[in-house]
């Protein structure tokens, strides 16, 4: 009798059209999530997983890219290094400025400035990558040619700078949320003690907002790693190993975009490109997972208090 009367939540009685609607919605979910999962699975398949995969993976990170040599060498070390350098530069620029903007919008800015800045940042986030690439090409690249006396102004540094602008709105809004939560929690009680803004920031807000700031950095990193068009247009797209900030490079996304259309399906090169794509995706997926967990922690902290 007890079992009979147990009504777990959710199992509500359904009319016949409810069952049809439920079925269609389930179908939508299964096909949608299914194709997203298929994407992951398919990258594994196309990277020729199985025989020789580990060797290929190792080579992917360490070898040189000389597809025309005999035998062809298909390592992507130069691309991973370029990616690391460009995203490194971009983070180094966009984190301090982005956190500054986050602070500005959450605490310092007068309300009317905030009302302008928020949509302005959304505009910045809405500009397509290809426009950023073009914008960089007609400004930074030209300036670099003159300023550093380069034969070609496309550099790792320039790509990094433009990428930092692209990351900025994400870093700013994510860190801004974290700051806002921290200020809401502590502003009154801390300022009531008579301390100034910087002290409150250093001793209380920074610590409280820290997980959110990490999330902002990880989000920026994930965006930066996957960014394609802008870095493709600005990095110089050369397979040589980058040796300075002003040398040309080819991040992994640019390599993929350049080569995939010109590669015979199921050739060794094709598998290698997909191996690179697979690792890029796994890297970004891991970062996204980290963001979700971090954000949960930020909010949990917020509600717990």
């Amino acid at each position: 009798m007890q079992g009979q009367q147990d009504h777990p939540s959710g199992h509500d009685s359904q009319s016949s059209r409810d069952r049809i609607v439920r079925f269609l919605c389930l179908l939508a979910l299964i096909s949608g999530v299914g194709i997203l999962i298929l994407t992951i699975v398919y990258l594994f398949i196309e990277s020729g997983i199985g025989k020789g995969f580990l060797l290929r993976a190792l080579h992917c990170f360490t070898g040189e890219w000389r597809p025309l040599a005999t035998p062809p060498q298909l390592g992507m070390a130069h691309a991973w290094v370029s990616t690391a350098m460009i995203t490194g530069i971009a983070l180094a620029i966009s984190l301090p400025i982005g956190f500054g903007i986050g602070l500005f919008t959450s605490e310092i800015a007068p309300p009317f400035v905030r009302r302008i800045l928020t949509p302005a940042l959304e505009l910045l986030a809405g500009i397509p990558a290809v426009v950023y690439g073009f914008f960089g090409a007609v400004t930074l690249v030209k300036w670099f040619e003159v300023g550093f006396q380069l034969s070609s102004g496309e550099t790792i540094l320039g790509a990094g700078i433009v990428l930092s602008v692209m990351m900025l709105p994400f870093v700013a809004s994510t860190s801004g949320e974290a700051f806002r939560a921290a200020f809401q929690e502590y502003r009154e009680s801390v300022l009531a003690l008579g301390v100034d803004q910087i002290t409150m920031f250093r001793r209380v807000i920074l610590i409280r907002a820290f997980p959110g700031l990490i999330a902002a950095a990880v989000l920026g990193l994930a965006r930066g790693l996957g960014e394609t068009l802008a870095v493709l247009m600005l990095s110089g797209n050369t397979t040589a190993f980058p040796d300075s900030l002003l040398s040309r490079g080819q991040p992994i996304t640019a390599l993929l975009a350049t080569e995939i259309g010109e590669t015979a399906v199921n050739s060794e090169k094709y598998h290698m490109l997909f191996t690179g794509a697979l690792f890029l995706m796994l890297l970004v997926l891991m970062l996204n997972l980290a963001i979700s967990i971090l954000k949960k922690r930020v909010y949990r902290g917020l509600y717990a208090s």
């Binding site: 009367q5 939540s9 009685s13």
Partner: protein
Amino acid sequence: MESTNTPTPLFEIRDLQVRYGDMKVLHGINTDMPAKEVTAILGPSGCGKSTLLRVLNRTLKLTPMARVSGGTVKYHGENLLQHPLGEQQIRKRIGIVQQRPLPFPMSIRDNVMFGADYHNKTSSGKKNEQAQLYLEKVGLWNEVKDRLKSPGSRLSIGQQQRLCIARSLANRPEVLLMDEPCSALDPDSTAKIEDLILKLQEEIAIVIVTHNLAQARRVSSNCLFFLNGTIAEQGKTAEVLNNPVHPSVQAIVMGKEG
């Protein structure tokens, strides 16, 4: 307890237990509720009053983790929780009015006819007629007759609550459960709703959860006094409120009215 000449009660509740996850909210409720009378449910917040209404209206399962973990509820002598009419019909017959009025995103007329139209497809002309009937019943007709097509959310809170009552009445329920229907309202709107309750009791049974002891005196003939998920005291409203036996009930009644 049951003599042969009294009719079967509307609800017979025996040892009803409800849990939210691991937390027990109702610890064995026992009571009978008569038809065509007003029963008030009193007691401090969080003692399971609203939970009981949700069990009766069969909407408890919409609350996550909530379930009936024991006991029986009979409705006209049949098991309410496994009633052969099915959940939707039960919800139609045993309507509920919530604490916060929630007009649906549609016109005043469609708000009133939302449930009724689902259960019984009506033509547009009939719909207007029906809507008028129920709006008149709750005393809202004169206030809204010129703007039946405007959204229900434009009304004042007090009007919205009467709209929600009209919406339940349009289902032609046999019982109307009311969960603190006046707690969000001003005294004037409260008075209107209390008048309405007194008028409605000639046709249907009403179970009203309230915080307000004076309100219970004004509108109800029977009352259940809840404490911590059990019924501490029950009987005729006047008797319970004038001569409470349970010490905690005494304290509350004296504290609030004395």
